[in-house]
Amino acid sequence: MQSHAQKERNYSSLQPKSPIKELLKNNMRQYSMIFALIVIMMLFQVLTSGLLLQPLNITNLILQNSYILILAIGMMLVIITGHIDLSVGSIAAFVGAISAILMVNYEMSTFGAVVVSLLVGALIGAWQGFWVAYVKIPAFIVTLAGMLLFRGLTMIVLEGKSIAPFPETFQKMSSGFIPDGSAANVVTLLIGAVLSVALVISQVKARRTQMKFDFDVQSKGLFLLKMIGMVVLLNVFTYVLASYEGIPNVLILLGILIIVYTYVMRKTKAGRHIYAIGGNEKAAQLSGIKTKQMTFWVFVNMGVLSALSGLIFAARLNAATPKAGNLFELDAIAACFIGGASAYGGIGTVPGAIIGGLVMGIMNNGMSLLGLGIDWQQGIKGLVLLAAVAFDIYNKNKAG
């Protein structure tokens, strides 16, 4: 126990001496994740003698990991509310199967089938959300049941066989690129430039308002450095994509999802409510937050994103198989915890889930390029997950 005066002294000793230190200290967790991601990228870049960052491979990385990243976004929300969802892989498989039956067997239009599939996902999410939020059965049990139930249903509707092929328009969802006539993929470069301008404008605007209210802002030099860094990174990225086939459709989808969910979680009442429920459900409820309703909708959302993930996976594979989505849930959950989520709820960010997902994805990809077998890959991934969370807890103990 410390007296107030001493506590204040304690705080002041935490006050930064230089802006760089301030930046590092305040965002320790976030930066250490990005740092880890960069180290892993460098490592595999060297080990694979430059194969990892080849335009073709980068495009592959995006295509391979898109469905896990989509799941990770939804999973992050579930974990922040203090729950877990083990059923997402099975839901993805089930929805993939439904879409195949609709499109292949019943020759429904791609658009119609996608809408119906997403609705099925929402219904499944509502089913699970009902048991978790209103009947108060632990999510671990409900979704474990869901994992078995929907895997079983997948096999029943598919009668144990695969269904293929999908119509071309549907395949394009996952394997297509944004249409571009030119050889140099000008559209891709243009998108990079437009995004850069939008980024700079929004950041400058935010900084201006903060200065207007006299809040602490980063020093001008640091801000400039950060802006330049981000713009360069963004354009190098689009340039690399452009030198292969351009921007994959699925990246556009993923980008929109990331931006929307980050915004919702950071800036809206709904996001604040989700964090509050995970932080202290009782306090949230007594502050007028409809905790049951919110938890229910988080599961509905997870159902929809699982369905989306299932569709993209089916489109990429160009088949709906009974085994689809196997172990997806574990990859998504691992992505969240590597990305800084707390197992007790209340803590975590959408970009964190994405970074965690990328760490897993790059490791998968890099180890495959090196020719490591699936046996070794699994083992190493397990250790990385443990190390990431151990590092996190070590940091927290040191800070507390």
Binding site: M1, Q6, E8, Y11
Partner: protein, 511 residues
Amino acid sequence: MTDVILEMRGITKEFPGVKALSNVNLQVKKGEIHALCGENGAGKSTLMKVLSGVYPHGSYTGDILFDGNVCEFKNIRQSEERGIVIIHQELALIPYLSIAENIFLGNEISKNGVIDWNETMMRTKELLQKVGLKESPQTKVEDIGVGKQQLVEIAKALAKDVKLLILDEPTASLNENDSKNLLNLLLEFKGYGMSAIMISHKLNEIERVADSMTIIRDGQSIETLDMKKDNVNQDRIIKGMVGRDLTNRYPERTPKIGETIFEVENWTVYHPTHADRKMIDNVSLHIRRGEIVGVAGLMGAGRTELAMSVFGKSYGKKISGRIVKNGQEVQFPNVTSAIKQGMAYVSEDRKGNGLILMDDIKQNITLASLDKISKRAVIDENKEMIEAENYRKKLRIKTPSVLQKAGNLSGGNQQKIVLSKWIFSEPDILILDEPTRGIDVGAKYEIYSIINELAAEGKGILLISSELPELLGMCDRVYVMNEGSITGEVTREEANQETLMMYMTKRKVRG
């Protein structure tokens, strides 16, 4: 000297960047009850952690002499072997285990790792007899009340051959009756030669049982007083604790009471799981504009249940009765609608039900009124910052920034965050449930001032408290509850501890 059981000399303990204890001295005589007093954060608990080996030898400087021997404890086990047992403020019992299992937890009577249950039960019975607890050793701890649980803790300490018992706020969660029992028990054990150190905020209890006391302030031992010789009274203790005279423990206030703005009529509530148990029985009360209305009662009288059932039915089942606000009957089907209609409830359990400790101060303050800082469901973070900053200054929350996590603040400052949250929601009626529990004297005064200001603004305040002096010092009128009913209503003029106590134990005549 042989009559000194414990001497701590020149204890200094530093945490990174903070000196929590600086050259503290403490001397406890054999067979005395020694009180340890100080404001929250003064360093009492740290000192006891040094003594019991939670902070191992080497992490502090200074000497500990126990029973004439120098002690260098590396962990709690070593200090317990010597007969120093600490009972923490938050009870460390396992609810799903029996009383006997809890008493001998970590100290099991066993042969080759196999527990001897017969012996365990026999010893437990003896111990329970000693502490005056009439329960079977097989009863699960979750099935007995807090008061009895505290007795189990003491029995557990006795099972370890305790020579020096340390009690950290032993009566904080007990009602008056249980507290009295516990204190009598302490006096009884003292008669058998046991020594005790008692940390407490309840000065009247210290006055009653302690033989001597040491006051700690800002990590330093200020003075040691002999209760009889130095003629110590509560004012004297407070002066030592805060370093100044607190001539008035309750701020001055001239009540400006207006018309009735809130009424509860014939309110009846049943237990949420035992559907036939009536928890609140036909309660009616009213609050007028600018009035501070107290609710007294023993633990289990139904005060919190009443408050929570009124506040958007957040407690109980089969709720019946009428609520009238500003002359019109209103419905609060859930908490959200209660808040929208101008209600606020500061819960009894600050950390459990009031705050999100992992979130920062500003998020806690705005949580109940996000609408005020949002446009079309999007939060304006700049506005949020300004509002939070505003309350930090207004309520003098001691923190360099509202971005600090709520969990890092002291109890008094945490309570100010909760109050800020509810003041920001602009209620007409505030229900405050034990708003000063576990808060030190100085911060209490500030909280009282805030409550008075709110009343002066014309809000109606319902103040639930277990501390009778607080009710007497603050309220214009006090309702007394017992067993779910209101047994009495007394005005400021008529109120004194004796009348309140009489109503608190009075049983309602059912007719």
